[in-house]
Symmetry: C2
Subunit: 148 residues, 2 copies
Amino acid sequence: MAFDSHQAGYIALAEFRYRIRHFLNASERAARSAALEPEQYQLLLAVRGMPRGQSPTIQALAERLQVRHNTVVERVDRLAKLGLVRRVRSRSDRRVVIVGLTARGNRVFEKLARMRLRELRQVGPELVAALGDVVKAARRLGTARRKN
Amino acid sequence: MAFDSHQAGYIALAEFRYRIRHFLNASERAARSAALEPEQYQLLLAVRGMPRGQSPTIQALAERLQVRHNTVVERVDRLAKLGLVRRVRSRSDRRVVIVGLTARGNRVFEKLARMRLRELRQVGPELVAALGDVVKAARRLGTARRKN
DNA sequence: CTTATTATATCGTTTAACGATAGAATGGGC
DNA sequence: GCCCATTCTATCGTTAAACGATATAATAAG
């Protein structure tokens, strides 16, 4: 087994990861440039970028951010202390907390989000290319030995 | 300011993040299913997926993983203790350490990497779609009229 | 041969995420 | 109405990865 026949796939996979990491790192730097922890910006984004019709409750945010609910509670605590978000108890179900951005939170968020969208105009094509490569490699993996 | 004109862009951005997080979480679960920390699998991938012609030195790996070099040192320590990688001093420059997978490391890595490629056959299209959306939104940001 | 640079390693600190746990509000079955 | 299970949010102690600062060794430059 001198060289695995999937070597090209591994390289494509690693390259994809590299591009993602680059993208995420740039995002983290942007967040810190606004005196925010990266995770705090992610929370703001999740609140403002909630799919239409859904409310940014603690639970819903946990799902969107793919973290445990208590992690969201902690992030909201920190952002509330910074005056960027506020908790609003739901009228219909008083167990539920709906997270909203303050005016200041909105200003900070929009500045950052637009930076990120601008960045994506630049690196978007590279991400698309890397993703395309790895998906192609993944398909080759499938056709090598057809069993489904 | 009932609704920001970039609202669709924020949703696209959040959706893209959600898909990425999903992908990364699945990767982390896969790593743990092999009794590895997610970051340890990432190191294995970076070693085996190094661009052709480049050696997986501590420095090069730090660049590829987008972390500080001492972080790579620590990851290598842990993986070496598990018997999955080994350090090899470069002959030409004895400051340099080249990281290599052991036979066991290769077996573990290949199992995981193939799982990940298979997963990408499934969710690849969703990632492509989300990325396409956000890049489109980013382009609109550029061409939109600059009000307020 | 002296100094600067590059590459790796060590150590103490920080902090976000987590599991476990608790408590409050709601709903279903009767 | 009442009990019990469920749902939603909050608290607390622990863990572990990443980092900055620092150290050591090899090499290059002058």
